[in-house]
Amino acid sequence: MSGNGYRFIGRPWAKVDGPAKTTGETHFADDLILPRMLYGKLLRSHLPHARLKRLDVSRARALPGVHAVIVGTDLPVRFGIMPSSQDEEALCLEKVRYVGDPIAAVAAADEETAERACEAIEVEYEPLPAVMTIEDAVGETEVRVQEYGDGPVPNVHKNVSLEFGDLAGGFAEADHIREDVFFFQGNTHLPMEQHSAVGQVEANGRLTLWTSSQTPHYVHRALAKVLDLPMARIRVIATPVGGGFGGKSDPFSHEICAAKLAMLAGRPVKITLTREEVFYAHRGRHPVLMWIRTGVRRDGRITACHFKTFLDGGAYGSYGIASTYYTGALQTVTYTIPAYKFEGTRLWTNKPPCGPKRGHGTPQPRFGIEIQMDKLAADLGLDPAAIRLVNATVPFTRTVNHLRITSNGLRECIDRVVTASGFREKHGHLPDGRGVGLAISTYLSGAGLPIYWNDMPHSEVQIRVDRGGGVIVSCGAIDIGQGSDSVLSGIVAEVLGLDPHEISLVTADTDLTPIDLGSYSSRVTFMAGNAAVEAAQKMRDLLLAAVSEHLEIEPDDLAVGDHRIHHRAASDRGVSFPEAAALAEAMFGTLTTVGSYRPPKLAGPFKGSGVGPSPAYSFSAAVVGVRVDRGTGDVRVDQVWIAHDIGRAINETLVIGQIEGSVYMALGEALMEEQIFRKGLHKIPSMLEYKSPTFLEMPPVETILVNTDDPEGPFGAKEAGQGPLLPVIPALANAVYDAVGVRIDEIPISPDKVLAALEQKRQGGEGRVGPRGVPRFTFRDPIKVAPPAGWETPWRAGAPIAGGEKGLPLTLHTGTDRTDARPRTREPRATAEDI
């Protein structure tokens, strides 16, 4: 990567928060201990479905050391992350819908007293039959988990059907058609840090909440709604998040209760969930049952695809509407599919609500389609890489379902991972018990639309430079370990000629920082990064103008160097960064600049088109090598090779860290992790029994970064946090088939399933474990949508310029390469859309 013209971008460098995190200095939410602080606890339902007949808290209130007790009627306003599913109560009012649903909350002088108070609360339930599976939910005609839904049977949360292009015509043109059924079991995030929140009310009535949240802005909105306070009277501070993976992206009961208890007690209140409670808070991977019918020509080209998904949603909405659409949205971004129909339904069950986990709604369909591609390749006698290459999308095109693709390194990812792994030499040729599998994927670099409808920026950054040369960057983004602090620091440092470790950061504090919508949908590098580029370039322009006047050198002849601004040709003619800052402050007054980012409008002309669009997509391809023990059914992973189209890395260390972490999490899901229930109860709500990979299960990973310099990404960057998880799970399943010739069409691929499939095959069966079919269900009549005009044809073949109909100036989001180091207009910069 050397010689790219940047000092930090595209190179490996240490995270800015590394020293704090290795010395114990980082304060996570539960590390906060405030004067007079009380400890809160939630009483949770022990039944999966019941009406609350009587709730008596008088004994709890009377206990010495108890300062406040609240129940559902104290917080009667419903909330939820999506505007269209405001179905959660901070404390249940009439009904409990899963084991773990919160009923009451107490604040006491210490945790033990709070626990005793919870035990002293008397609850009388009227048990109701529980709906526990997809099949139960589809078949049940009387018992309702929720009071609302999308029909045609009582426990349907969402029912969608979209059809693009000529489906019947596409299947008619096919030389070969396959139908397959797959099941992706649910699993959970298992962040090492248990959720925690601290509420505090000042004497003037202002409320502050510290919380381990990926989305402080959405928590802010929910608090205002449920507590009936203006947002301006509430301050939400997201503390460094000790692992999120999507699990800390909803507003939660414990956050609202900590705030309410603090308001009632007049003292700070902290609620930290136990590990068992974290399993009930959940919002993890939806279990998804899916049916896929795909038609292909003899050469492997897809002519049509019909995709059906059944999502087991749990008891509340969470992000579920988006999750449902995501199970159908991105298949077309990796494969050119000329006719595509998607039918999806999310079902209510009496389990903790499912939501977004790394990959949000896309790992499940990716699992299905990538195994089906392998089966299609085998049917046609094609190599698994060839069938993918013949269908792979190309840069600067649209998909049949109206998604805009800009930079696209998918083919290079496939080629390079196939070469690095020796896939073609190994596939079908390794000794019995050993195998390799290939799969590909794509993911968003941020959702194109915010969660609630508004026209404001998605991310904003403010920079202040003081007369000593100190640089303070403020942004609402929250570092959840992915390295958003380092991305902000690195970008500003690159533009201003400083070191990332010198930048002071203020983040994720609704009082002190401008907005960022949150660390979800892999949006922060792209969106906060673009806002940071803009703010930093404006600051650089101020500094250059002042130095230009002082040194009597034209701004175009100045360069930003290492802690100096100097003559481009004669580097001894220059000033240090602090001198430049003092000159600029003398010229302009207080040195502050701002930048903001709003994605271009990308949604297609149909209902449901808001889920799927992104300003840029990352692409990945993975090969997994396995060893399968025919005696025990045990699957060991020997190595993973993964190529990822990153656009361009802001920090290579962070990108490789995200990719290795994604591979790890994928292997856990593929081989062992599952959120499962028995008689309404979570079977394994502990870290010991919920198996996840340890140091000993992690194989070597060879990571290949593919640079495509996205025209709209900051310095060309795209996402890395979620996409690399996606191909690993189906690649592993395909590798097991290559090793021992059995198909495990559901995850986790546990030894019992492998043994059952091997035994079946020995007895002359097909050697497959997986679902046999999908339940009878009436999807909506489809919304039929014509593909965008000229959708398959690249509009700017090979040209390194921005997408969108209007196109964007070449220099818009590029950084500090020398030709770009010149003053720009000092007017407030418009957003990308207005240019």
Binding site: P12, W13, A14, K15, D17, G18, P19, A20, K21, T22, T23, G24, E25, T26, H27, F28, D30, D31, I33, H189, L190, P191, M192, E193, Q194, P240, V241, G242, G243, G244, F245, T274, R275, I480, G481, Q482, G483, T653, L654, I656, G657, E660, G661, S662, V663, Y664, M665, S686, M687, L688, S692, T694, F695, L696, M698, P700, V701
Partner: protein
């Protein structure tokens, strides 16, 4: 029931009056303000709360302070000394072995115990020594590399890695 006890933590002596059933994890965090020690389960399952007692890794969520009088307890706050970070801390920072950083204190201490005992561990030995510590962010590989880099530097070699 409360008891008085003396604990030696990171070379400092503390006299405390605490309930007898309070765990070492709770006493460190709540009574001594040493919040660098984290917790992931409080059931001895995840390794997050690992501290050293006389140089040996101990799960502080399962340890009782009343049994630890007269022993040397080391937490992450005691890892750096004389104004210098421990080589493990430096290597973890350089290689991105800490992402969210929540499991990091426990892993650092488990790794220190290993390197103090085995200055030249194989990768398998490092993995086995740390297998009781879960991490959900890193995929473990950068941690293994960081422990090896720190070991090389502690032995006096220069080691590989970006020195930034």
């Amino acid at each position: 029931m409360k008891t008085t006890l003396g604990l030696r933590v990171n070379g400092e002596d503390h006299d405390l009056i605490v309930p007898v059933h309070k765990t070492l994890l709770e006493v460190l965090r709540e009574d001594l303000g040493l919040t660098g020690t984290k917790h992931g389960c409080e059931l001895g399952e995840c390794g997050t709360c690992t501290v050293l007692v006389d140089g040996t890794p101990v799960l502080s969520c399962l340890a009782l302070p009343v049994e630890l009088q007269g022993h040397q307890i080391t937490t992450v706050e005691g890892l750096a000394g004389g104004g210098h970070l421990h080589p493990l801390q430096v290597a973890f920072t350089e290689l991105g072995a800490a992402q969210c950083g929540y499991c990091t204190p426990g892993i650092l201490l488990a790794a220190k115990a290993l390197l103090d005992r085995t200055p030249t561990p194989t990768r398998q030995e490092v993995a086995e020594s740390l297998a009781g510590n879960l991490c959900r962010c890193t995929g473990y590989l950068k941690i293994l590399e960081a422990v090896e880099l720190a070991a090389a530097r502690m032995r006096g070699g220069r080691g590989e890695g970006d020195g930034r």
